[in-house]
């Protein structure tokens, strides 16, 4: 069964602090994604990756960095966290082509920046 695991599940951070959200997938998918979910906005794409060593900017990349050190792992980094980054963050993995056209999501990380 395809699996995407996010850690931590909950995080409280202080303004100006550094936050790292981690994502691990056992699906051997090339593509991985980070989204944030806010009321009234649905899911918005922050960064994505086509494979190990690659990161691409999504629709709302400002204030975030991403790192893909391996096929399995994709991290989202907030170097200087701000209260506006309080949100629920979802990681997903997926590949495209034929029967593989599916995104698999993690359970989410609830981040509060005080």
């Amino acid at each position: 069964e395809a699996a995407v695991t996010q850690s931590p599940r909950n995080k409280v951070a202080v303004t100006g602090g550094k936050v790292t959200l981690s994502c691990n997938q056992t699906n051997n998918h090339n593509n991985m994604y980070w989204y944030r979910q806010d009321t009234g906005h649905g899911l918005r794409l922050i960064h994505y990756s086509y494979g190990a060593g690659s990161t691409e900017k999504g629709d709302i990349p400002d204030g975030y960095k991403a790192s893909r050190p391996s096929q399995e792992n994709f991290s989202l980094i907030l170097e200087l966290a701000t209260p506006s980054q309080t949100s629920v963050y979802f990681c997903a993995s997926g590949d495209w082509g034929g029967a593989q056209n599916t995104l698999y999501f993690g359970a989410g990380t609830r981040l509060s920046v005080l």
Binding site: Y33, L43, Y48, W96, A107, G108
Partner: protein, 113 residues
């Protein structure tokens, strides 16, 4: 650029009633289209997907969706809803040549017992 519109932010139906959740998309070619469901404090789970073939696709738990290229739509349907179907439903588009994925803003479904 591709986009997805879910015009209904909230839908309320009675248990046993039929359901349609609307989704309109904008894309010049043939996109991958998905419906996902999100239960409270959980991640998104796939209900069904479409890329080609029969425009009516069957999903889990009695859900189905119909693709219409002429109307640029991918509406979700269920013949008889159950209270446990209460959740947020997302229509999702992927443009194959970009590998990017676009979400609608979601429709919150409330099923009254």
């Amino acid at each position: 650029a591709q986009s997805v519109t879910q015009p209904d932010a909230r839908v309320t139906v009675s248990e046993g009633a039929s359901l349609q959740l609307r989704c309109k998309y904008s894309y010049s070619g043939t996109p991958y289209l998905f419906w996902y469901v999100q239960y409270p404090r959980q991640g998104l789970q796939l209900l069904l997907k479409y890329y080609s073939g029969d425009p009516v696709v069957q999903g889990v738990n009695g859900f189905e969706a119909e693709f219409s290229k002429s109307n640029s739509s991918f509406h979700l349907r269920k013949a008889s809803v159950h209270w446990s179907d209460s959740a947020v439903y997302f229509c999702v588009l992927s443009a194959p040549n970009t590998n990017k994925v676009v979400f609608g803003t979601g429709t919150r479904l409330q099923v009254l017992p």
